[in-house]
Subunit: 349 residues, 2 copies
Amino acid sequence: MGDVVENREWYLAAYCPEGVPTSEHLKFRTVSLSIASDSIPHNHLAVETLLLSVDPYLRGRLTGTLEGLFISQYQLNQVITVFGVVRVIRSKDSKYNEGDILLNRSAPVAEYSIVPSSDIARKIDATIGISLSDYLGSLGIPGFAAWVGIEVLGKPKVGSNVFISAASGAVGINAGQLAKIRGCRVIGSTGSDDKVKLIKEEFGYDDGFNYNSESDFDAALTKYFPDGIDVYLDNVGGKMLEAVLNHVNKYARIPLCGMISQYNKVWTEREGVRNLLNMVGKEVRMEGFMLESYWHRFGDFAKDMERYIQEGKVKSKNKINIGIESFLESLNSLFSSSNIGKVVVQVKA
Amino acid sequence: MGDVVENREWYLAAYCPEGVPTSEHLKFRTVSLSIASDSIPHNHLAVETLLLSVDPYLRGRLTGTLEGLFISQYQLNQVITVFGVVRVIRSKDSKYNEGDILLNRSAPVAEYSIVPSSDIARKIDATIGISLSDYLGSLGIPGFAAWVGIEVLGKPKVGSNVFISAASGAVGINAGQLAKIRGCRVIGSTGSDDKVKLIKEEFGYDDGFNYNSESDFDAALTKYFPDGIDVYLDNVGGKMLEAVLNHVNKYARIPLCGMISQYNKVWTEREGVRNLLNMVGKEVRMEGFMLESYWHRFGDFAKDMERYIQEGKVKSKNKINIGIESFLESLNSLFSSSNIGKVVVQVKA
């Protein structure tokens, strides 16, 4: 490999306050990047990108305003960054060597990049039989979100009734399996009959329903939760959250992981939740969370989850799209009901 | 005093699902009650009622349905019960003697009653210079609610920005003073300019606004919270809660004490809160609470609060209505914007 590489990358051309992001907002370009040794600062690494994680929260970084999600915004004309698996080409940090495969919390959506080693979450041991894409799924953002939601905030007990929305999404698949490991009864909602079948047959959910064929969420929850809901991991917000608040048990916990039904709308057009008063009598705790506040727990999570995967207690479903050019399409697939499991872009094999 | 007394009491004649309760729902009657020694079971007391506490949560016990507030309902044709100060006439419990003045968590709204001593919260020492009505205000339900909201759930730090709605109500007056003791900047909303003046001049609030003259809550909060809100003690729900969620700081806490703006409406007609998504990015914790879950902390609270009152750090505002016949009118005064401070019915001097 020479000292200068042709580098294809996605950058932010314009913010997208509402609706689905298009190629007007995220643009693809080719630039030259010097990876010569003297272009790499101290404690930095030149890396090639293997895999990129595509997650719903990215939508919030494209709005151009803090309003609505209060998540830090991508900068105009800059390459966007995501969670990713990278391989070291050249290292200016003694902790890492050429050829090391690393998990990068802030990987540029580019074929090559020079990154500070402080962005590295962990080194990956490719010999222990876990696929690299799992490091972005069950061992990455969605797995960590599921773990924080269930283990840290939801804390269900053996026999607790747990409800998870967007159950066939990457967070939902992991969260359902974690709740089952805790001995809970777990019900999921998802967008098609096939997905309901999938979460029951492959991911251990006790039952589930298709929210597109249930006109009355309240009636559905009455049916699936005759004993009420103890923990609701909310991934959708809006009407489903409102319906859940009519079925909560005393001291129910509602970790708010994200609200995919609401991301593409400005806030005044979002669905209002009218029954928050239920939270008083039932003493419900509802709590939003962002993974940035839980990095200090990432090691605990990774240790738990690696063991569950090796013991076969957590299974994965990864959709691998080939080629960095598929990034925008991959992002938008999260907001269509066709998506199942974790979406990953494979940049290099 | 003979063995049989004429006893005037308020009982529930009909549930009131929405609107303001009237004399159709709560009726007044006179019955005979035997307080003869052999009418008093073991571990029970015959008492005369001195003072009764009138609190907004009582509204929720009159709806006839658990829906909406999930608070235990009063029983039809039975005397309703509230927090009250009573004096022992005859005791069948060795811990209490004739003449003792007691705080009863579940005092019948009647002139006389026979009650289990397990309902007694504490014995009152009438010689320490605290007025009996304060035992229902700063040392009773509203003081305890303020303490749980601020000290247990809100936990503001020195310099935190604290917002309290219904600030001139009984909970608000106590909560504002507790937050000031913690060294916070405290702003209140209340229903008139006079009340704004009152909370600033008498109860230590740094500032406040009249929600009836602010057409745009969002603009008001921008003005009063240039550095955002760290703790919001919510007593009203609805539009004010929604506006607050546009001004919350990272890790803000919102203890939900009650939602007086929403009590008299069925839930589908309540104001929807559209911006719960803000709770994700700001990692906000919103938590409903009922005092029944915090009785084990009542002793800690009473010790703190008694000291604050004796040191002059917590001042009271009690509206004392004379005569048990004023109970219904006193309850409804809570839902009119004329109410200030703690409403107490004095049954016997």
